[in-house]
Symmetry: C2
Subunit: 326 residues, 2 copies
């Protein structure tokens, strides 16, 4: 693999001149520019970007941190973020953490080690103080979660979203609700608070059961099978926390001939296409991923362009998508 020096020798010029041509700097005679350009072309020379990044102290790479890509919500979010970054001229690179602190810290370390210019985290397994320490490594933006730290945060107002969804179920006369969450995190807890607030607003002290670790279709099926096994239902509404989990629950309901929403209502979350084709179609909540992703990229751009910049919290309201499962 030839280097800039080889090109320089071949053309009988200094490496400075070659560098100027590569980087489009002025003050190179047209004749030499052409000669160098064709030498580059012919030899198939590509600058060693490790050397360039090392010397310039800049990579143009943005790390997108996500628990896992094989999760429809995060997949969609990562995709949107990825597109938004590309649109701004940054190079998105995706890292999966699987909720593992060590892997997450490894990625944050890349910031300190200058391998990434910035990181967009869609979630974090770290405690707030630890996360705050990571901020010292370099620019970190949060998209989708809400942490109380000194960073730009774009998130859904989960509390209000959950409040609206829950209230929607309560208004149809449901009283004994089950709340499912993924793995515990600030946003999931905010959801739970919204859920409880809605119950409280209706003076329902009881009826707020909660179950964790619900992620996939299979989880939904398992939960549904457990619940619907006994015809004497203990609950009459389920806040599923994700469309996939809800789809699994609906499937189990049908298997056990439980009428939805008559005997038990179900709500999803995310407004994923799957929510249109369940039976019955799923009431869900749209969280405006696209808008969040665009705003994140915009803020990222501002932050990295070096102008004066203050971290800020952006919140979206999203909206309820009522269908026939409630």
């Amino acid at each position: 693999m030839p280097t800039i020096n080889d090109i320089a020798k071949q053309c009988g010029v200094s490496k400075s001149t070659v560098s100027r041509v590569i980087n489009g700097h002025p003050y190179v005679s047209e004749q030499k520019r052409q000669m160098i350009l064709s030498a580059i072309e012919e030899s198939g020379f590509t600058p060693n970007s490790l050397a360039v990044q090392f010397r310039k102290r800049k990579t143009s790479a943005i790390g997108i941190l996500t628990p896992q890509v094989d999760h429809p919500y995060f997949a969609a979010l990562v995709q949107s973020l990825s597109n938004a970054c590309t649109a701004k001229g940054w190079k998105p690179v995706i890292f999966q953490t699987f909720g593992d602190k060590k892997r997450e810290l490894d990625v944050f370390a890349k910031l300190k080690q200058r391998e990434l210019d910035a990181i967009i985290a869609t979630s974090s397994a770290l405690e707030a103080p630890l996360l705050a320490r990571c901020l010292e490594n370099g620019p970190i933006l949060i998209c989708n979660e809400k942490y109380e730290i000194d960073a730009t945060v774009c998130s859904l107002d989960e509390e209000s979203a959950a409040y609206k969804l829950t209230m929607h179920m309560l208004q149809t006369g449901k009283r004994r609700l089950l709340f499912c969450l993924d793995h515990t995190s600030p946003s999931q807890e905010a959801r739970y608070i919204g859920f409880l607030n809605a119950l409280a607003a209706r003076n329902l002290k009881e009826g707020g059961k909660r179950i964790e670790g619900m992620v996939s279709i299979e989880d939904g099926i398992r939960l549904g099978t457990d619940l619907f096994h006994d015809k004497q239902l203990l609950i009459d509404g389920i806040f599923a926390g994700s469309d996939f989990v809800a789809a699994g629950i609906l499937h189990a309901a049908k298997q056990h001939q439980i009428a939805v929403p008559e005997k038990c209502a179900v709500t999803g979350f995310d407004n994923h296409p799957i929510s249109q084709i369940t039976d019955p179609p799923l009431t869900t909540y749209d969280n405006e991923i696209e808008a969040m992703a665009r705003k994140t990229a915009e803020q990222l751009d501002m932050q990295l362009s070096g102008n004066f910049y203050v971290p800020k919290l952006f919140q979206w309201q999203g909206y309820l998508v009522p269908r026939h499962s409630t």
Copy 2:
């Protein structure tokens, strides 16, 4: 940010000694080792990995190239590959190409530019000769597609898979089949050949309609709506090419009160969890992603460990998962 030199000065030793400590080389007195270690700890020093990679000419990073992450099949594949690489001690990094040649070439260029030690491509938008040229950049393995190039290729025997699925439909008496494919690619074409072979084996010259660009649930819904609009069905079986497309089709069928499989059979592909909860449950094909991913990582490891290595083709058979949509 302190450098190795700062640590050296602070401890009154040479940077060589510090480097030896960092890299765990022998021949450093225990006393100095401790002193250096605590100086590193205290100052929060981290080696600049750009400098390390540049100097060592090695990054330990493996690029995983995928059209898009927001696609259940690729998401699952990327996840498996990612895990398999981590298990072997490599650092997986995911890049999305969106089927765009330019973006794909950009990623392949990273190999030449030494930003990646190797690339695993799950698909490619490039023509074979161009792809073959990219092989000169460095180690590239293919997982999931089948290209006629001098590289390690792990793939499903798509032709035989499609043959089996199609034959399965034909055996239930279906005669007028529609074949859906994603975007055209070698593996999709191999599928189509398997499909045609099955028809030919039954002496069905006709009945091999084909439609492209079917990817998502929505695509399936649209197609199904078109097809089932007219009660006088022109076809009696659909080879959907993916479980998500099939799920959309099944939804449309229900909307139009088309009995599945009686009036029209439907088969999916990939054995994604969604195939269990459609109504009726979907006949599909399991393509053994895990096994493919593991083998790819194993071969990658062999290739990069520098031992004698010959590119090879590995093919999986996968297996039919019969359910009630056929």
